[in-house]
Amino acid sequence: MLKTNKVIILLLFLFTSSATMADSRSAVVSLIMDAKTYFENDQLEQSAALLERALRIMPHDPYLWHNLAGVRLTQEDWNRAANLAKKSNSLAGDDSTYKELRVRNWVLITQACEGMGNNKCTDEARSRAQALLRN
């Protein structure tokens, strides 16, 4: 479980970095890179704290919310992880540039629901992810 989650998050850290670089918000990028280092060293709470700092600068960036959800998922803080991913999705909206992110969020929610042992929530999240992939 831990390994799978890490792969997901690392990919997105890079993805987010390039996205925010273009936005010239280098402060957020530097915080994400530091958060990534902490994450790779298994200092998860430190990583989360840096992402929260980044969110104070860019509270409407859905990638940041997703990454924070990923850190919480790795900590097996299932409920918090699922809600943060939902927040990420609500900010991503219908924008096609965020389609991949939304899929990832639903995958993350699926994993969190599995963690909680909630079958109904797992099935629903999985079907939302699959529906998005089909479109």
């Binding site: 010239s24 918000r25 280098s26 402060a27 957020v28 990028v29 530097s30 915080l31 902490y38 709470e45 430190q46 989360a48 704290a49 840096l50 929260e52 700092r53 969110l55 104070r56 600068i57 509270p59 409407h60 924070l68 409920n79 918090r80 809600n83 943060l84 939902k86 927040k87 999705n89 609500s90 900010l91 991503a92 909206g93 219908d94 939304r102």
Partner: protein, 765 residues
Amino acid sequence: MIRTRNTRRPIRRRPPPQRRRRTSYSTPKKRPNPRKSGFRFKWRWLILIIGLIILSYHVISLDIKVRKLFEGKRWSLPARVYARPLEIYTGMSLTTQALNEELKALGYRKGSTNSAGKYNPIGNNIVKIRTRAFKFWEATDPSRLVKIRFSSNKVQSITELEPTRQVALLRLPPKLIGKIYPNHKEDRIVVRLEDIPQSLINALIAMEDRHFYNHMGISIRGIARAILTNIKGGQIQGGSTITQQLVKNLYLSSARTFKRKFNEAIMALLLEWHYSKNQILEAYFNEVFLGQDGSRAIHGVGMAARFYFNRPLEELKLHQVALLVSLIRGASMYNPRRHPKRALARRNLVLDTMSKLGKISPMEARRAKKTRFDIEKSTAESQFPYPAFMGLVRSQLRTDYRTEDLRTTSDTKKKALDLSEGLRIITTLDPFLQKKGEQAMRSSLTKLSKKRRKARKIEGAMVVTRCDNGEVVAFINGRKAKYDGFNRPLKARRQIGSLVKVAVYLAALERSSYSLTSRISDHPYRWVDRYTGTVWKPQNYDHRSHGSVYLYKALANSYNLATVRLGKKLGLKTFHETLKRLGLTRELKNIYPSMLLGSLSLTPLEVAQLYQTIASGGFHVPVHAIRDVLTHEGKPVQRYALSMEKRFDPTSVFLLNFAMQQAVRNGTGRKISKTLPKHMVFAGKTGTSNDLRDSWFAGIGSEFSTVTWVGRDDNKPMGLSGGSGAMVVWRNFIRSINPQALPPRVPAGIKWRTINGLKIPYKSN
């Protein structure tokens, strides 16, 4: 004869016991009985042994006490409460003036940036700062020399010098905004011996204990001199060494009894036996009492340097050092603020003594004696400017912990929090926004109170939170924000009027049968209490009914009849559930139809929690004032990590937000919103209670959610509605901070249609 006989007879028959004894002992006198001499010998030694055992026990128990207290917690340190640290980043909206204000508030001094805690504005667009280091829980930010360049009120670049490199982000240390004292209101800053100036050590030893480095804890010479003086009837002398003084301060009372003096001597010997002179000296410098500020006791030279001179200990000059030492004999008697002449004489005596002992040259002494006190007129860190916010911090601690002096509950499930260990509490307060909020509240209330006679005594409260994480950035209490009086934003429970209506409309918009353009009835309404027969006939604000109206217009114009009819249709239970999902935690015993129009009393903080859920797009985020609680050393005790729960579908909240935007621009808030820049998009709701007793406004932008209340403390009518009272305060605040106010992000599942030239959103599925 008879008499003689009679008297003799009994003597012979019954000899006196002594005589008999003497007779029986007469033999051993000649030949010593080993049993008898052994018996006497044993008693004497037994008493001695018992005495020794008791003494040893006493000494051992004193030894345990000395070591336990000396090695464990020695100093009671108040919890230090900090504002949020300012994060400066490229592209950030920040003026040089705001940065200079922040630095000044942090105690940074203007001038050459050769040492930490100094800044230097160069022209209008560049500020050079040498920051102070600060230990946050996740990282220690070192001292840095940086150059910040501004362009059009934005941070253009941040350059670190030594070595030169561009940095994207700079975090300034947070401002100390308050202290929470344990039971004994002792204030101190713990210092290490290596940070104490040598001149201070010299002065202390010269005045208090010249043989400190040579004795073993007690000075026989000193005691003998004290006894002699006391016998001669002179002034009572203590004859205490520095070690004895420390023992007295740390462990004993100040009673002048023999027992206390005896214990003091034993404990001083024990202290010297276990610990080095340097350890004892360091403890002394941190424990010594050096002043009183109301109920706050100033302990230790670190805090005294701040209290009298408002600077760190290491920056003190000779004359200031001498003044601190002169206070040891009587902080009250030689108080330089109250008794300057007496204090000056004592300080000069310290300087003369130091010179006599060769610790300073006569020239240095003369020069220092010529110098005035240099003390700060006002006592530093005596009163902090945010009493209402500090009340909120205490309230949050009380909710989450059992604490020593905040204990009001016997809930043993809560974790204990010892407030005497110098905890560091990092809060969410933004001093810049707080200042702007206080200014807006003061000036607006002054103007509003002149409008109507009834409004002369109006007061106000405002709670400003970050939309997405629930952090309280400003917490304003009345016109006199610095006055520690009734905490209105935290405690004033007032009828919330139409602010409650959002719960009715949100409950409707959650249902697929309702949209913003659904037609709802605003016809007259009448309700009869089936038990009491009481008839309730609500009215619209303009005393007219408007027939069939669009749902969004009913909210924007705050129609009472339409709201009651809608609420009754949805059910009072649904309304109550919606309120709870929005974040209402207060128990409501009964739900009446009049509650649909706001006949329920809540505090501004509770209302802020309800609107927070709308501001964050349907996610319930706890409104909170604390980010982290750290130990004295900076290790985390508790983090208030970002936490949220999806309570409403974002599309329903988006539709509600649209209706609230209409309320600001075209509804009950249109008059005031005309004076705001057109590009700013705000959602809001006005609220007015019966007879114009309470005026409310809740405003949501893309950055901040704000709840404002205006009213009289005696709950009498004051003649202002939500739109003409609280909204004016809010508008003035918004104009002064110029925040981001973008339209909310459109969630998936929203489409638009145009009706009467207005683009209105609706749910696509």
